[in-house]
Each structure stands twice: as structure tokens, then as C-alpha cells.
């Protein structure tokens, strides 16, 4: 059954509208990748689901709850955790404290600092360090671990590969199967199309705030994706829902 159902969602910042009538559904345990060019609305979509950008129209249902009426800090308790773009670790907190504050909502589950360290062994020796002296890849591991500590049903991963060396990106993405194995549903925003098609069960392409293409990666040709990504040609109709 679907865990997340978004219907006719519009959102934006002040007078600037970034999302127009976006609809999508994600099944429990699936991984959905959202691709699109800069400014296509990918981050806004995740931030609207997380509750830190207000929706102006439409609905977001999550596990039977209407999310839009729930303030951001309560959505974590319902099981929505986000890894924000640019990591956004708390510089005043050590690595361990950054992980611990991920569990602030006290949502029951199996994730602990120890279990995060098993998924990201590189964190073991860093736990006592301030979080702002870490490398980009280390910071990204902490940010993902911090979100997992909330024991989420849905994890929103925003551009986790941004600014990382390819080898580090590989390490970070190697953790995704462990997350999926825990039954966690993932929404992955990614600019790297090859990476997105490799990890996702389902792909959505955003173009200027609208869904321009969607479907299982295996059924989408590179040309379709390129056309939807850049808005070059007439976009194929998408009735795959």
C-alpha cells in the first residue's frame, strides 16, 4: 500500500511559487528518486513534505495522516525524517550529540548510535569530535545517521552526493540498502541521473515545478529522461499512476 500520497500539491516561498500541482504516491518500503535541473522544485518538494515550506494547495497524506495540518516538529514523531541539502549539522554539537538529537522525538524503533556506526564505520572514531571539522563525506554520514536516529518510516534525502568526491558518493549510497532493509521508505533527490536510476524503484522528473516524467527506471529511455529533464521536446504523457 502507499505510504505517501501527494495530490495536487503547490508550494512556494512568499510570492514565488516553486511547485505546481504535483501528484505522486510512494509505496511503503520503496525508493523513489526525484530528478530535475537546478530550480526544478526538488528541494521544495522535500521541504514541503517535511513541513518547513508551507503548501499553498493540495494534500499530503502519510500513513493515513493529513500531514499539512501537522507542524514540522511533530512530523518527525509520525515518522518523516529529512537529511537536508548541505548536511546542516549543528556546529555546536559533537558528532555523537548530532546523532542523539536525531532521536529527540523519542519515536520508538531500532536505530541507535551503535547501529549507525555499524552502517557508517568511519564515524566510530569521530563521535567525540565537533561536527564542523569533519570532511564532506563524514558530515554526510552524520546527517544520514542523524535522520535514521528518528526511526523514520520515510526518509527524505536531499542531494546527498552534492559536493562529494565520486568515491565518497559510492560509500554514502552503499548505506541505502541497509536503510531499505530496515523497511524504511526513501525519497531521494539527486542530480546525478545514473545514481538515481541505480537506486530507485521509481523515478520522477520535475521540470519548473511540475512533474514532467515518471515511471520505473527500467521503462524510461535516456532520451525520455533527457527530454523531461531539460524540457527540450514535447514530454511524453505519464499515466503510469
Amino acid at each position: 500500500m502507499s505510504l505517501l500520497e501527494i495530490d495536487g500539491l503547490s508550494a512556494g516561498y512568499g510570492d514565488f511559487q516553486a511547485l505546481f500541482d504535483v501528484s505522486l504516491t510512494v509505496d511503503e518500503g520503496a525508493t523513489l528518486a526525484i530528478i530535475g535541473a537546478n530550480g526544478a522544485g526538488k528541494t521544495t518538494l522535500l521541504r514541503t513534505i517535511a513541513g518547513i515550506v508551507p503548501a499553498t494547495a493540495g494534500s499530503v497524506r502519510f500513513g493515513g495522516h493529513d500531514l499539512l495540518g501537522v507542524p514540522a516538529h511533530r512530523r518527525v514523531g509520525l515518522g518523516v525524517a529529512m537529511v537536508p541539502e548541505g548536511r546542516a549539522l549543528f556546529p555546536s554539537l559533537t558528532v555523537r550529540e548530532n546523532l542523539e538529537i536525531g532521536a529527540y522525538s523519542k519515536r520508538p524503533g531500532t536505530w541507535t548510535v551503535q547501529k549507525v556506526v555499524e552502517v557508517f564505520p568511519l564515524l566510530e572514531r569521530l563521535l567525540g569530535r565537533p561536527s564542523d571539522v569533519l570532511s564532506g563525506g563524514e558530515q554526510q554520514a552524520v546527517a544520514i545517521g542523524r535522520a535514521l536516529m528518528a526511526n523514520p518510516r520515510l526518509i527524505l534525502l536531499d542531494e546527498v552526493s552534492l559536493g562529494l568526491a565520486p568515491i565518497v558518493v559510492k560509500q554514502v549510497y552503499a548505506a541505502l540498502p541497509a536503510i531499505a532493509a530496515a523497511g524504511t521508505t526513501a525519497l531521494v533527490v539527486e542530480q546525478d541521473i545514473a545514481q538515481a536510476t541505480a537506486v530507485a524503484d521509481h523515478l520522477i522528473c520535475l521540470l519548473e515545478g511540475r512533474v514532467s516524467l515518471e515511471g520505473p527506471p527500467a521503462e524510461l529511455s535516456r532520451d525520455d529522461i533527457a527530454a523531461a529533464y531539460f524540457g527540450l521536446a514535447h514530454t511524453p504523457s505519464t499515466e503510469a499512476r
Partner: protein, 294 residues
């Protein structure tokens, strides 16, 4: 010997200044909130103690048990339903709103209590002292004030660095939006911070009232000293606040001694000069590390 005495008395006085500055430091550290009504709130706390001691016929020490919770609740409610609307990147709204609040408090106190100076009578402890050597005695009252100030600051520091809620304070201070993503209700964090700030300034106000007489318009002078202590110590650093309070205290007593000996300085003037020197040469304050401390 008079200089050693001035130093000792200054350190003791610094306890009161640090207690005044604690709430300013905490509110600025966590939410960049500049509270210009802080001094008036101290005076409000002292007047609440006047009413409490008169109504319940108890000592000012026991009145703290009433005044501190009342002020903390007031702080929580004001922040939650009023000040929170001023929180943002621009500090100007908070400055304007608390400036106005200070005027309101001063006039309300004038209306209710008249312009007469009042005092809080704590009995013989006010004048009792311990004689260390000839020429140096430590008053029990300033000693108690200093110990309470150190206790409050150490307690707050432990709370901020060791507890779950303290971690939420620091995270919110770093990045309120990301803190929300962790499940932290930043608006509630701000209200709890202001409750603590009001509680500490209420204690400071009652101690001030025991130490000396006060009137409804004495708030701004306390605010100035509090700000100087915070800025000298380093904005948002609790240890810095204690150090800043001690420096201002010593500056006042040493300055007064210079005045007695030579006639060219006065206590408050030396304090202001040190404040200006710190602003020029160490604008982040002596212990200010801009981000790491809270």
C-alpha cells in the same frame, strides 16, 4: 591593603552583575534576542518581592519562592505569545518591542508603587560580615549573592551541555529550521529560555533590593551594567558572563578607590572605559568564540 580590599569587594559585587547579565546572555546566545526591558524586569522582580513580603509577612529570601516562579511563568508566556513574533534575522523588532515593554513596566510600577525608594529587609544578614584580616571583611550578603550567581551559571552551563533539552537549546541556536526537522519545537525552546532568563533576573532583582534601595526608574542603569558584563565576557558565553560581571564589579570598586585617593575617576566611569576598550580590541568579548559556546 585598601586596594586588595577594593579587589575583593569588587569580585563580590561582580556576583550581582553576573546574575543580572545571565538572562541577557542566555537569550542572546540561544535566540539573538536583545532584551532592553531586562533591567526593568529586575526592578519588577524586586517590587513583586516588596508586595510578597508585605502580604505574606515573610522574609525576602522566602519571597524568592513566590517571585521566581511568577517571573518565570511571565517570561514563558511573554515569549510564547508575544516575543516569538519578533524572532528572526533582524534584531530590530525585538529591540523596539522590549524598549516599549520597559517603558510600560516603569510606568506601571510608578502607578502602583509611587516614585518612593523602597528596600527589602532581610534582617541582620545585610550587615553581618566575616573579618579576614584588618581592613578586609567579607559581607555575608555579597558572599551569598556571589555564590548564588556562580551556582546559577554553573548549573545553567551543565544544563546546556549535558541534558537533552540543553542540546535542543544549542541546536536551535545553531539552526532553528534544521532543529525543527529533528522534532524540536523552536518556539517552545525560546519560551523556556525566556522563562529561565526571567527567573535569574528576578533573583538578581530581589538581591539588589536587599542590598540597596530601588525605585521604579532604576531599571535602565541595571541594564547597562548587565550589557557591559555580557559584552566584556563574550556574547552568549555563560562563563564569559561570570568573568564580565567580575570585571565590571572590580572596575567599580577600584574606580571608587581611585576617586577617593586622587579624585580623577569614578567607579562606573572606569567600568564604562573597560567596556569600550574591550569593544575596540576584542569585539567578540574575552571568552567569545562566536559559535561554539552557548
Amino acid at each position: 591593603m585598601v586596594w586588595v580590599n577594593a579587589l575583593v569587594q569588587g569580585l563580590l559585587l561582580g556576583g550581582l552583575f553576573a546574575l543580572f547579565a545571565t538572562g541577557l546572555s542566555l537569550a542572546f546566545g540561544v535566540m539573538k534576542f536583545v532584551n532592553l526591558a531586562h533591567g526593568d524586569l529586575a526592578i519588577l522582580g524586586a517590587f513583586l518581592a516588596v508586595s510578597t513580603t508585605a502580604t505574606l509577612d515573610i522574609s525576602p529570601w522566602l519571597a524568592l519562592l513566590v517571585v521566581v516562579p511568577v517571573m518565570a511563568a511571565l517570561g514563558y508566556l511573554l515569549q510564547r505569545y508575544f516575543f516569538n513574533y519578533t524572532i528572526g534575522d533582524n534584531p530590530l523588532p525585538s529591540i523596539l518591542v522590549t524598549f516599549g515593554l520597559g517603558v510600560v513596566i516603569q510606568n506601571a510600577l510608578l502607578e502602583r508603587y509611587s516614585a518612593d525608594s523602597r528596600g527589602l529587609d532581610a534582617g541582620s544578614v545585610e550587615t553581618a560580615s566575616i573579618k579576614l584580616t584588618d581592613g578586609i571583611s567579607i559581607g555575608w550578603l555579597p558572599l551569598i549573592v556571589l555564590l548564588v550567581a556562580v551556582g546559577v551559571l554553573v548549573g545553567l552551563q551543565l544544563f546546556v551541555s549535558r541534558t537533552r533539552l540543553g542540546r535542543a537549546f544549542r541546536a536551535t541556536s545553531d539552526d532553528p529550521v534544521t532543529a525543527r526537522l529533528m522534532g524540536v519545537n523552536d518556539r517552545n525552546v525560546y519560551a523556556v529560555v525566556m522563562a529561565i532568563a526571567f527567573a535569574t533576573v528576578a533573583v538578581a532583582g530581589v538581591f539588589l533590593g536587599i542590598r540597596q534601595t530601588f525605585g521604579p526608574s532604576d531599571g535602565p542603569a541595571q541594564l547597562l551594567v548587565g550589557f557591559e558584563a555580557v559584552v566584556i565576557g563574550g556574547l552568549g558565553s555563560l562563563w564569559g558572563t561570570l568573568l564580565g560581571g567580575a570585571i565590571i564589579g572590580v572596575a567599580q570598586t577600584v574606580g571608587n578607590q581611585v576617586d577617593v585617593e586622587t579624585g580623577w575617576l569614578s567607579g562606573p566611569l572606569l567600568g564604562h572605559l573597560i567596556f569600550l576598550l574591550v569593544l575596540v580590541f576584542k569585539p567578540n568579548g574575552l571568552l567569545g568564540r562566536s559559535r561554539r559556546t552557548s
